[in-house]
């Protein structure tokens, strides 16, 4: 069942086409990843889906509700975790949660109960009376996640939820998100961390310059664009042109970035033998979503 649907969605700023004809269908209960470099249009897309920014053109439905007419109802079932910290610095940790619960019209006792529950979920109970400025960056992100759960959302919208977290906190967050998914919470996850996308996402869309370039399961994307294995070859500047010429003549699927050449879709390593003088120049590794990302969005800086 489709839970979020966008049709021909366009977002235009003065002279920038931030989102260019986005058609997405997020299924109920899945974790859907939105991947792309900075300025790809991910955040603009998410701002439209969370009803805080009106589309220039196109339509959005969430749970069958047209967002143009049912923004309030939709926002009531979303748990939004923004990229930028917008915790309320005038309030304590606990007050942040109870005040936020009040925006959702949750009664006082229930708000307090849920606040304590989400605080313990993200191991912040000891900090409940602290001020926001006393929290570390990691604690703030965990509190943002906790806040996003206060209304028991059907859909979580996560914009870079683990950015700036240490590995311990990152795994804690991944673990909690996986648990939430198993409880049936749909997740729309914006990330630039390809490992995160591989771990969490059932399906992912890769965005670049406002367009959705490709969409599929992480595994599917990897086998479609790079194959299961990637060969990396270090060459000296002298050898480079020669090797590239040979690869071309053999019809190999490869990409040369500086003195490193990546070869994709290689089923058996025979095809690469004899190409280089020293075997230690050759390295084989499993392909990742990051390889797909580079193939689709290029290696140069996007902005």
């Amino acid at each position: 069942m489709t839970i979020i649907k966008t049709q021909n969605l366009i977002k235009k700023f003065k002279d920038l086409l931030a989102v260019d004809d986005a058609n997405l269908e997020v299924e109920k209960g899945e974790c859907f990843g939105l991947l792309g470099p900075n300025g790809a249009g991910k955040t603009s897309l998410i701002r439209m889906i969370t009803a805080v920014s009106p589309p220039t053109k196109g339509d959005i439905w969430v749970l069958g509700n047209d967002l143009k007419t049912h923004a309030r109802q939709v926002k009531a079932i979303l748990g939004v975790v923004p990229q930028q910290d917008n915790l309320d610095p005038d309030l304590t940790v606990l007050q942040n949660l109870t005040t936020f619960a009040r925006y959702f019209n949750i009664p006082k006792n229930e708000a307090l109960r849920r606040s304590m529950e989400v605080l313990s979920l993200f191991q912040l109970v000891d900090k409940r009376n602290s001020h926001i400025r006393e929290l570390s960056g990691g604690m703030k992100r965990r509190l943002l996640l906790a806040r996003g759960l206060i209304n028991i959302p059907k859909i979580m919208i996560l914009d870079e939820p683990t950015i700036g977290l240490d590995p311990q906190a990152k795994y804690l967050v991944w673990h909690k998100l996986t648990e939430l998914k198993s409880q049936g919470v749909t997740q729309l996850l914006c990330t630039q961390n390809m490992e995160e996308a591989t771990v969490l996402c059932d399906r992912a869309a890769i965005m670049h310059q406002g367009r959705i370039l490709s969409l599929g399961t992480p595994k599917g994307l990897i086998s479609r664009y790079v194959g299961n294995e990637v060969w990396e070859i270090e060459v000296s500047s002298g050898e480079r042109d020669e090797v590239v010429k040979q690869f071309e003549s053999r019809g190999l699927d490869f990409e040369a970035a500086g003195n490193k050449i990546h070869v994709f879709h290689v089923e058996a390593n025979e095809s690469l033998k004899g190409l280089v003088n020293f075997p230690e120049q050759l390295r084989q590794r499993p392909a990742t979503l990051e390889d797909v990302f580079f193939r689709l969005t290029g290696r140069s800086l996007a902005e």
Partner: protein, 254 residues
């Protein structure tokens, strides 16, 4: 213009909670300062001025002080206060991701600003009463008038806040709009002491009708023409309130 809903009360409650946590840092501005002005001008300058419109000088300025500080309360709240919440703390962004929309947030901010005017009105009125400067039971209406005045000035402030690029722009707002009104709206001297043109100009200033109404209520001297002053306040309030909702939506939902 999109309408606001009852949910604005959630923003009002948020601001109330924060205010009562931090009220001691706000109190000097809105309690001590008006008392100082009232006593310094009323007793100090009053000793030289003598009688104005048949009243002691301190009696003459008391209603204007109430109206002015009610204006200051709402104006500070919805310029510096609102700007910090909007731009630095991103509090509005957080709230509009919940079932509240932009109009609810702005209405909540404006009604909170008006509540600050209401509280300031009560505090100075009580002080004025303690100095025996209140001469009519009609004075109990003054806090209600201060609330209405608060909606008006909070809305004007919100409109300005919705278009300024930075927090420094508020210097213009206070130096060129609020402070002149403090001196040219009949608070410290009767408008009749100004040349004709200044008198006409001062009737454009939204503080002028409030000062006249407050003075009438505190002295119990009500006359039909005051209804024009009330009508002017209501029209300006409705106008600026609606415009600020529109301009704020434009700023926040790009």
């Amino acid at each position: 213009m999109k309408p606001f809903s009852w949910r604005f009360i959630r923003v009002w409650q948020r601001n109330r909670d924060v205010f009562f946590k931090l009220w001691h840092s706000e109190a000097p501005g809105f309690v001590a300062e008006p008392i100082i002005i009232l006593l310094a001008m009323g007793l100090g300058l009053g000793a030289y001025v003598g009688m104005v419109d048949g009243q002691k000088y301190i009696e003459f300025i008391a209603p204007g002080i109430i109206a002015s500080y009610a204006m200051f309360s709402a104006s500070f709240e919805c310029t510096y206060g609102s700007f910090v919440r909007m731009e630095y703390q991103k509090t509005y962004d957080a709230i509009i991701a919940t079932p509240l929309n932009v109009e609810d947030v702005i209405a909540g901010e404006i009604f909170w600003g008006a509540t600050r005017s209401f509280m300031t009105g009560i505090v100075i009125l009580v002080i004025a009463a303690a100095f025996q400067l209140v001469h009519s039971p009609w004075a109990v209406v003054i806090p209600v008038l201060a609330f209405l005045e608060g909606i008006m000035f909070a809305s004007i402030a919100m409109l300005f806040t919705s278009v300024v690029p930075s927090i420094y722009s508020f210097n213009y707002y206070f130096t060129l709009f609020i402070t002149p009104m403090f001196f040219f709206s009949g608070v410290f001297f009767p408008l009749s002491s100004f040349p004709e043109t200044v008198q006409t100009l001062s009737w454009i200033a939204p503080l002028t009708p409030v000062v006249h109404l407050t003075r009438a209520l505190i002295n119990g001297e009500l006359y039909p023409n005051l209804l024009w002053a009330l009508a002017l306040i209501i029209v300006l309030t409705a106008l600026f309130f609606s415009i600020s909702l529109v301009t704020m939506r434009r700023r926040l939902t790009i």
